[in-house]
Structures are given as structure tokens and as C-alpha cells.
């Protein structure tokens, strides 16, 4: 898929249209900004790291049933996504006290919260993304009540899944920021990215930062941090199931299919026009990264015979 037109350029990403109306390409940049753009730098490898980390996490979320805009990763920096209309709301979910919450409420950084805290901000660069509450959202028509409820549920569920996941990466998920969007059908999708730019990640059981705070606070080792998180995320296998369907090519007589067709007809199911029989394989895979290509490769090299068979596959829960 090719980039057609630059639609938007943000601090860390560019969004392009594609020839397909419902798909965008997100390009991850190496640029980092902080404090509303006051601090700015190039961090080599950051774009690539965030692209890979986000891809993997979106894949995990897909398996776990969280709808998100991710379709597939196209290259080291490019990600193909579903085009959705972004709600002008930033959702922040916190598991431990840090950042603005510590400042605002005068709490110790690192304090465990009894339950996750959801905060909402109104997306506006001029207003510096001010915090709002649910009433604001509804009163200003930023989202309907149903949409807001869905967004809240999806946020909490995503948080649960990612706490577990990052724990396996030996990281504490302190807090993170989400954006949501909806498609033309009105279905709500988790959007944007999930990476050290949008998550606060600490070494498990410590307050050592492995995220953008290293950059914000000039802690050094910024490039290494992104790389480290990328490595850890890549190396955690997610057990998932690939369902592969192998069928004879349409041009080839499917004797089995014809026999089944005749049997169905003789049982009175005269509405059946055609039957194609195939093979269904289910592969339980410990996925790291680039598995779509790996599965494709498996299909081409062994599972299907390209001379006479077609295949299609999908990840299933």
C-alpha cells in the first residue's frame, strides 16, 4: 500500500491517505517533544521502536477482543490503520501516582492507587489539552453517553490487559494515554499509538523510567530506553491462534465438494449452489513480531501447494 497524500503531521507522527478510502498510513518519526513542544529533539530509532511496540500491542489487543485501528505493519516505521474519526478527547488511565497527578494533588510519586483512575482531557493545542470531566464531554457533545461508556470500558479493559503484558516485560505500567475514534458505522476503535511516548513504564518494582520521562527529565540514555522497551516487548511471546483455511483453487474440480453438494441436494437442500471443501489448520503460535509474514511464509512453503491451492488466514482468539 502506498502513501498518497500527507493528511496531518503531528509531533511524532505523520498520517497519510491511501488509495483506499478507509485506510491510512501512520509514519512514526524520530522527533520527540515535551512540555507542549518547548523541548524538542531527534531520538534516533524512536520512530521504529514505537511503530514496532505499537504494532505488537495492537495485535495483542486484537486477540484479546479490543477493537483497534491497527491493520498491519508495512515497514519499520509505517503502519496501516483503519481511518477513523478521532474523538477530541484524550483518555488518561493511571495505576500509580506520577506526573501531573502527583503535582496537582501533592502525592508521592509511585504511590499505588486503590483502583485505576480515569481522566479526560480536551484535545486542544492552543488550550494545552485542559482536563475535563464526563459532564463536559456530554454537555459539549464531544461524545454521546453510549460512546463514552464504551470508551471507558475499553480503556479499563485495555489497561488490565497491558498491566499483565508489561509485567511479563518486567515493567510496571504507571499510566498511559489513549485516543479513540469511530468509523462510518459508528463503531469505536482504540486509535493512535501505544508506546513509551504514551505510557509511563518503570522497571518492575522500582521507579526507574523506561519511557519518555527519560527525555523530559534529561535522564540520559533515551535512545537506549526506547530500544530496550522494544526488545522486551518483541521478546514476549503472545500465545495466539492462527486459523488457516486452505482450499483448492477455483479453477480446479473439487470432487469432494461436488459429492457433498449432491448429498445436500438429495437431502432436499436444493438452495445450495456450490460446495468447496477445504482444510482448516489451527496453529497455536508464540508470537513475537512480524508473525503475519511468518504465517504467510508457512503457508507458501509448506501448508498449501501453490500449484493447486489457495489459502487465507486470520488470527483468532
Amino acid at each position: 500500500m502506498e502513501k498518497v497524500k500527507l493528511l496531518y503531521e503531528g509531533k511524532a507522527k505523520r498520517v497519510y491517505s491511501t488509495i483506499e478510502e478507509d485506510k491510512f498510513i501512520i509514519e512514526f518519526k524520530d522527533t520527540a517533544t515535551a512540555f507542549d513542544g518547548l523541548k524538542k529533539a531527534e531520538i534516533s530509532g524512536k520512530g521504529e521502536a514505537n511503530c514496532i511496540i505499537s504494532s505488537k500491542i495492537f495485535e495483542l489487543l486484537t486477540i484479546k477482543g479490543i477493537k483497534n485501528h491497527y491493520i498491519k505493519r508495512l515497514s519499520e516505521r509505517d503502519m496501516l490503520v483503519r481511518s477513523v474519526k478521532i474523538f477530541p478527547i484524550e483518555v488518561i488511565i493511571r495505576n500509580k501516582v506520577a506526573g501531573s497527578m502527583a503535582k496537582r494533588l501533592g502525592l508521592d510519586v509511585g504511590k499505588e492507587l486503590e483502583r485505576p483512575v480515569l481522566e479526560f482531557c480536551y484535545k486542544s493545542d492552543e488550550l494545552h489539552d485542559p482536563m475535563i470531566n464526563e459532564d463536559h464531554i456530554l454537555a459539549l457533545g464531544l461524545a454521546t453517553e453510549n460512546e463514552l461508556n464504551t470508551i471507558k470500558e475499553m480503556s479499563l479493559e485495555t489497561n488490565r490487559i497491558l498491566i499483565e503484558f508489561f509485567k511479563r516485560c518486567h515493567l510496571d505500567l504507571v499510566d498511559m494515554k489513549f485516543e479513540f475514534g469511530k468509523d462510518s458505522q459508528g463503531d469505536i476503535y482504540l486509535a493512535d499509538e501505544i508506546s513509551p511516548d504514551t505510557c509511563r513504564l518503570w522497571e518492575l518494582g522500582t521507579t526507574t523510567s523506561w519511557d519518555k520521562d527519560r527525555f523530559r527529565k534529561d535522564l540520559g540514555g533515551v535512545e537506549e530506553a526506547y530500544k530496550e522497551v522494544k526488545e522486551r516487548v518483541i521478546n514476549i511471546p503472545i500465545e495466539s491462534k492462527a486459523r488457516i483455511l486452505i482450499r483448492l483453487k477455483p479453477s480446479i474440480l473439487d470432487a469432494q465438494g461436488s459429492v457433498i453438494l449432491n448429498a445436500l441436494k438429495s437431502l432436499g437442500f436444493s438452495e445450495v449452489i456450490e460446495v468447496r471443501a477445504g482444510k482448516l489448520l489451527e496453529l497455536k503460535v508464540d508470537r513475537k513480531i512480524d508473525e503475519p509474514e511468518r504465517i504467510e511464509k508457512m503457508c507458501k512453503e509448506l501448508l498449501a501447494n501453490p500449484v493447486m491451492e489457495d489459502y487465507e488466514w486470520e488470527w483468532v482468539e
Binding site: 474440480l253 470432487a255 459429492v259 509448506l302 501447494n305 500449484v307
Partner: protein
């Protein structure tokens, strides 16, 4: 190597079951040197002709021949073929050769959806190969088949126009495209066929037509 001494190597995959039958014909009927080659070995020293025998390599699971083609020996077989060595694949061996891309096309499930084991009539289409020189062109011979997947398919028949060595004659038992029962590669040193020549190489078994394939190989070398 003296005249008429041709060394055969029979590759044994897990699940191969016609290896000993081929061995018997080559050693006891043809009186030629022969040895088994385990699929994990890679020593083809002194071998003049490689036989990929019939059977159910890897249980024919997934597709007949699909897994066997990844056995270590197959890269040696490929190399051997590239150097011009003779390779004959019988039944499952033919399936392995197509899966490995050493022969064009593929072998699909019989149109009857059943295993078929019986004698069929075949017509010799080419006797200018090292495997069929003992036959006449257009000659009708009888050999047994025994397979589930012998339905030869290729997307464009023109690709094998001049490569067909054997065709089913009269009745087509499995639905094979253009009645194809055996084909050879462009270079003329890799031959695959669905019928089992080793099963009809002795009078006591009802036919000796198969022995002529082995004799052709010996004559050509």
C-alpha cells in the same frame, strides 16, 4: 564401473513403504548393486540413479509428499539432479518430486475420492528417455497403480507439452489432466510416475512391464 553395473540408491523417508520392493527388484531381479539411503543422510557417493519409492512419507499428512521434500536428503537429490544424475520418483516419490519443484505440476486427490489399487493400461508417449528406452513409442503396457492422490494437475498444459512420458490409456482412473501418468523434466533426467513398476517386474506377479523401466535405466548408463 563395468558395463551394465549401475548403482541404485533408494531413499527411505519415515513412512516409505515400497523401498524394500524396489530393493528386491533391483538386487534380485535386475542383479544390480543397490543400497538404502536414510532421509537424514547425505551420502550419495557412487550412486548412479536415485529412486524415490512409493509409500506414505510422513503419513501423507498435510499433502502427499509435502513434508518429505524438506528432508535433508532432498537438497542432495536436487544437487544430484542438477548435475544430471538420474532420479526416478514412483507414486509417493512422484508426489515428492512435484512438491519439491523438481517436476512441474501437482498431484491432487483422485476424482473418485477413494484409494485405487489395480492394474491400468498405459501408453508410452516418449521412448527417448533414459527411463523408457526399452519400450516402443505408442506401445500399450499394463502396470498397477495404488494411490489416493494421483490426479495430475498443472495450470497450463503447454508447460508440459513435451514432457509427458506415460499416459493412462483407455480409462483414466483418477481424473489426471490430459491422462498424464508420468512426466519427465526438461533436461530429461528426473522422471516421476504414478504406476508402480516394481510391482510388475516378475512373471509370478502377473506382468513384467515394469522391469523394462529399470532395464532402460541400466541400459542408458
Amino acid at each position: 564401473m563395468g558395463v551394465g553395473r549401475v548403482s541404485f540408491g533408494i531413499v527411505v523417508f519415515p513412512g516409505t513403504n515400497c523401498d524394500r520392493d524396489c530393493y528386491y527388484v533391483i538386487r534380485d531381479i535386475l542383479n544390480q548393486p543397490v543400497r538404502f539411503i536414510w532421509h537424514k543422510d547425505n551420502d550419495l557417493k557412487g550412486i548412479d540413479c536415485i529412486v524415490l519409492p512409493g509409500g506414505f512419507s510422513y503419513g501423507d499428512y498435510l499433502r502427499a509428499g509435502a513434508i518429505a521434500r524438506f528432508s535433508p536428503i532432498m537438497s542432495n537429490v536436487r544437487e544430484f539432479a542438477e548435475k544430471g544424475g538420474l532420479v526416478i520418483g514412483i507414486c509417493n516419490g512422484f508426489q515428492i518430486l512435484t512438491e519439491a519443484g523438481l517436476l512441474p505440476g501437482a498431484l491432487g486427490r483422485n476424482k473418485t475420492l477413494r484409494f485405487i489399487c489395480r492394474y491400468v493400461n498405459l501408453i508410452i508417449e516418449r521412448n527417448d528417455t533414459p527411463f523408457t528406452s526399452e519400450f516402443k513409442n505408442g506401445e500399450i503396457v499394463r502396470m498397477p497403480i495404488a494411490h489416493n492422490e494421483g490426479n495430475y494437475y498443472i495450470d497450463e498444459l503447454s508447460k508440459v507439452k513435451n514432457l509427458v512420458v506415460l499416459r493412462y490409456y483407455g480409462e483414466n482412473p483418477n481424473g489426471a489432466l490430459d491422462n498424464i501418468a508420468g512426466i519427465i523434466n526438461e533436461r530429461g533426467n528426473v522422471f516421476g510416475l504414478m504406476p508402480h513398476p516394481e510391482r510388475c517386474s516378475e512373471k509370478v506377479l502377473g506382468s513384467e512391464d515394469g522391469l523394462r523401466i529399470f532395464k532402460s535405466i541400466v541400459r542408458s548408463l
